[in-house]
Amino acid sequence: MHDHASFARRGAARLLIGTLAALWLAVPVLAGPDRRPKEKSEAERVAKKVARALGTAHQAEEERKALRHFQEEVAKYSDFHAVELAKLGSPEDPVAAQAALAHVIAAKRAKARQGDIFRPDVQLLFRRLIAEQLKGPDTRDAQRAVLEGNPADGEEVPVLVVARINAVYPPGASRSTVPPSVLGTLPELPACLHYRFVVRDLVLIDSVADLIVDILPAAAPDPATKELP
């Protein structure tokens, strides 16, 4: 009897251990196919997020650099403008004064090229900032403002404006409205410089000499497609 009882106990113990072992082995096998892909996909998502964050940080740093460059360049231009303006004194005829200033500035900046101020990294930054204000359903008024005052759009007697470095903005040509949202987003300028749109190009214009200082091509939506670059 003793042997039979002992045998039964050992058998039960083995059965229990075997069942537990089987379960221990089975659970990962059963659970594995579900859990691993989940983790894998989550890991992929996390990796992408981290990459994005690192990319944004890199982009933010690039944009800070671009902004610094832009601000330095416009400050330099502002100083140059102030010196040249002071040399003119205070002439009676504002139109003649404007022409004289434009002539002097154009001569001294004869080697200026498109992109000196709007260099490629500044262009990237500006395009992003402008896109934020001119893209989407709530931006119709801003888009319209940019386009309607533009020389090539809606004028009864259009005056052709050619966006070219050192070109004087033609007298009588209409000027675009620069929407407050765009002005509020772009870096502030010294008083001697303004942003304006000429068709889709954003131009930096000397507000006294009325001279185009630099050009960011195709910065505004395409009037035909209403799409942004």
């Binding site: 504002p94 404007q98 809606g154 009588g172 000027r175 409205t177 620069v178 407050p180 502030e188 300028l189």
Partner: protein, 349 residues
Amino acid sequence: MSYSTISRLCVVFWLALYAAPTPPLAAAPASRAPVTSVLTLPLKDGSVRFAVMGDTGSGTPEQYDVAKQMVAFHKKFPFDLVIMLGDNIYGSDTPADMASKFSTPYKPLIDAGVVFHAVLGNHDNPNQRLYKLFGMGGERYYGFRWPQGSVGNGDGSVRFFALDSGYLEKAQLDWLEKELSSSSSEWKIAFFHHPLYSSGKTHGSALESRAVLEPLFVKYGVSAAFSGHDHVYERIKPQKGGIVYWVSGGGGSLRKGDIRATDMTAKGFDRDYHFMIVEIAGDDLYFQAISRTGETVDSGTVHRPGAPAAGASTTPSHARVPVTAAPVPPASRSTPEGEVGVPPSPTPR
């Protein structure tokens, strides 16, 4: 009748129908019977009087016609100030242009000592701010009190705020807020080129500009605002803060039939060129819009927002800012073409 004869007759008939010279659009109103120019403003003692004109600088005969009307009304209503709502000089702006598009047509007013204060429109060279007769003091945006030399502490003077609405940058908005908040004048009037409210089909309301300017106007008690840009006349029903907005862009340019009447239109006129005269006395602003032919196209009274209610029973209790349409001379009642009128809204929007 031969084939060639028939053909010739057809050609002659076609020429008679379609190829005959037609008078320019602007000439049409001149063919109407002369209109008696009636002054509807009260000419109160000590009142502030000014004229308003926008989009003037075309140098066309029509601009000169409007200028002649202004001179004629100046004799009956001696205003000493004109505010100019932009597009002061279209096209080139040489000294000869400045003469033909500004100083010549308004010479009688300039000679009479009338002072002009302008804002820039989208067609204006920014250097117009340096043109002395435009009274901008070299600034794109500026303020002034009228009459000159007044101090503004309840002395009946009016504070004007001239803005460059085509370029509302942060510096300008900061300046405006500072000036508005420190102004002790009871009447604060803003003027600028692009209208915050307009039913003009060509341009319409400048919503982005409204988003940044209107909160300041409401917060600091601007009473009225004048704009041009759309080449029509339109009085807008009182908007937020009870502010009344005018579009007066037909001083030298016209877009006939350009108003698409909306529920914000109190009165519109898009048939002919026009200008406005305004008188401020106490808490009331009296206005009259006059066409090129001397016809009164709109007139009435605006009670200053925030002022004690007008004692007269004509003030509707439900309207925060009553805009009372004065009787319009029969001449303008009988010519409804080009006029748009919508009854005043009971509540300001």
